[in-house]
């Protein structure tokens, strides 16, 4: 961990709980770096998470109010916490299965309402904690514990989904492009309405080992090779079906 950010971490926490090669530790640090750069007092923030690997990014690591909730319900808990005390700066950090599968309904309704929450979805494209089952974000064809012959279904495009539901600020980043991601997190935090940042994060342990990407470097290469920023994607702003477009999702 970056020692300069130690004051944002609970002194009792001595290490991250993540597997070797997991991208969530990078995201844990980048969020703190951005909050630090914004000169926000993290002690005045509330971090809400659900259940799963990504839910352990804020809880218990961040030295702030943290609410580790039920599987899928982080956004609903955050909605209540924010409405009951609008002075709180509320950030939800959770995983793709948590926010987009079991909690998908809460996500789109919060986006529709425009309540001032920032939701960061750490997307590792798999259910990591439970042993590598297929997620609603798993690429079509990928092998998982429950799709041995390859995922027969296409994934959600979470950014398009949340944007269509009415979110004010939507962006997709990756832990492999930290400066762009920090910029997006900063814009999301300072958006006075519902904001959403999807963060691609490698999971060599559960996703990688079933898909010939079982070293941290290979899992990172896969994300690098399948993500394009807009300027790289051509003037149409689109990319191949198996590619994910990084950057902000504006109107239209």
């Amino acid at each position: 961990m970056v020692r300069a950010l130690d004051h944002h971490l609970r002194p009792e926490v001595k290490a991250t709980p993540f597997c070797p090669g997991c991208g969530h530790g990078i995201l844990l640090g980048l969020i703190l770096r951005k909050i630090d750069a914004l000169e926000w007092d993290i002690g005045e923030m509330l971090f809400v998470s659900g259940i799963g690997c990504a839910a352990w990014i804020p809880s218990p690591n961040y030295l702030a109010d943290t609410l580790h909730t039920l599987h899928g319900r982080a956004v609903a808990f955050a909605t209540g916490a924010k409405l009951a005390n609008p002075a709180l700066k509320v950030m939800v950090i959770s995983g793709d299965g948590d926010l987009a599968s079991i909690g998908g309904n809460h996500l789109i309704h919060a986006a529709r309402r425009g309540i001032d929450l920032t939701v960061v979805c750490a997307n590792n494209q798999i259910y990591g904690m439970t042993g590598g089952q297929v997620a609603p974000t798993t690429p079509k064809g990928s092998r998982t514990a429950t799709t041995a012959d390859g995922n027969p279904y296409p994934p959600f495009d979470l950014c398009k989904l949340v944007k269509a539901a009415g979110a004010t600020y939507v962006a997709r980043g990756s832990v492999l492009r930290p400066r762009q991601l920090m910029d997006e997190i900063g814009k999301a935090l300072t958006t006075p309405s519902f904001s959403f940042v999807e963060v691609l994060s490698p999971c060599p342990t559960q996703y990688g080992r079933r898909n010939r990407l079982d070293t941290p470097a290979a899992a990172m290469d896969e994300i690098r090779d399948h993500c394009r920023v807009r300027v790289e994607a051509g003037e149409a702003g689109s990319c191949a079906a198996d590619m994910l477009l990084l950057g902000e999702y504006g109107d239209g």
């Binding site: 109010d65 609410l67 609903a76 955050a78 209540g80 924010k82 409405l83 005390n85 002075a87 709180l88």
Partner: protein
């Protein structure tokens, strides 16, 4: 002291109103400043009324996307410092069960008004039922205690809603008003108070928020935004909130304390009324709307010379077993009319010291008529 007597903030005096309206006003009186809910018959009027009342009292109201979201938002709001509640009926109560367990385990004060309808499943959505007695106590997984009151009148929809908030805040548990459709939709004259005694959560700076030195204690209740850097989790946790999911002693101590903190306060939580039990050979045990019919039947039977009495439970959870045992020490029989197939009758049986307990269950979507209870009394005596 966390208890204080405060103006209700809602109209006082002689009123003609429904049970659901009374519950909504009582929530305001008790200090409730957050409601999240989802429409469901026959509880919806509570939400309708609070959607108007809460903004007028600097509170927040939100209609959520479902009951799971509703109870989750209520728990989140409670940690932000608001007295918070929802109201629902059977299907919604079923959806809320996971989060009710979360509220138990994280010691989150909240109130649920369950206006019961005839189940299982969608059942008779607009008709009265009483089948949720066990659901509120045992519906979520694991071992736990809750508080539940059963109002028999519009006046008690008011007073017991206030008491549910007091119990929830004092014990840091989910507290239920276990009403029935008949009471929620009942219109009758009530005399609402101008002041009520309310309990405001006890925050003791410096104390751990999730444990006490006592094995039956209620910890200090802080809130978000106080600089406490709270660590709230539904996983097994120590007194400071750190996950300790592999420590058998931490889990054992926590689960036992959460049960003990309620059971150790049974004396103050257990409320009941007795009518004519001193000379009774048969005691009718009733609660909620059914107790109205039961009291009528008991009075008619006594007028005809039958030695009948009545015990009315106002508190259903924790179950007031001791009063049943006290009555059962005499030579009596019990009759338990209820709008389910014997949920409380089984509890009475277990406390009856071997006395005869007759269950009079009715599950046809109608309230139990005094004549039905009178007939059962005559059949026994």
């Amino acid at each position: 002291m966390p208890y204080s007597t405060i103006p209700t903030g809602v109209p006082a005096g002689q009123r003609y109103m429904s049970g659901n309206e009374a519950a909504a006003e009582a929530a305001i009186a008790a200090g409730c400043r957050f409601y999240a809910g989802y429409p469901i018959t026959p509880s919806s009027e509570i939400m309708d009324n609070l959607s108007r009342l809460l903004p007028a009292h600097d509170g927040a109201f939100i209609q959520m996307e479902d009951e799971i979201g509703s109870i989750s938002a209520v728990a989140g709001a409670s940690w932000s410092g608001a007295k918070a509640m929802t109201a629902t009926s059977g299907p919604g109560l079923s959806l809320m069960q996971e989060c009710l367990g979360y509220a138990v385990f994280t010691e989150t004060p909240l109130v649920v008004i369950d206006v019961q309808r005839a189940g299982p499943s969608t059942g008779q959505a607009t008709k009265v039922g009483g089948g949720d007695v066990m659901t509120v106590k045992y519906g979520s997984h694991g071992d736990y205690q809750v508080v539940a009151f059963a109002p028999w009148s519009v006046a008690e929809m008011f007073s017991l809603t206030v008491e549910a908030f007091n119990a929830a805040e004092k014990l840091r548990v989910p507290a239920f008003v276990l009403a029935e459709e008949a009471t929620g939709h009942l219109f009758e004259r009530v005399d609402t108070p101008s002041e009520v005694r309310v309990y405001d959560r006890d925050y003791r700076p410096g104390e751990p928020p999730f444990d006490t030195p006592e094995l039956d204690g209620v910890p200090s209740m802080p809130r978000f935004g106080q600089g406490e850097n709270l660590l709230v989790t539904g996983s097994t946790h120590n007194g400071l909130g750190f996950r300790k999911v592999e420590d058998p002693e931490v889990h054992d101590r926590l689960v036992r304390r959460l049960n003990r903190k309620v059971l150790a306060r049974k004396d103050e939580l257990c409320r009941y009324e007795t009518h004519f039990v001193d000379d009774a050979k048969l005691v009718v045990v009733a609660y909620g709307f059914t107790a109205r019919s039961a009291l009528r039947a008991v009075k008619l039977a006594r007028a005809a010379g039958s030695p009948v009495g009545m015990l009315r439970f106002v508190t259903l959870w924790p179950f007031c077993r001791e009063i049943v045992e006290e009555i059962a020490a005499r030579d009596v029989q019990f009759l338990v009319p209820e709008m389910n197939l014997g949920q409380v009758a089984d509890l009475v049986q277990a406390a009856s010291l071997g006395r005869r307990v007759e269950a009079l269950g009715q599950v046809n979507g109608k309230t139990i008529a005094p004549a039905s209870i009178l007939q059962a009394i005559e059949g026994i005596l």
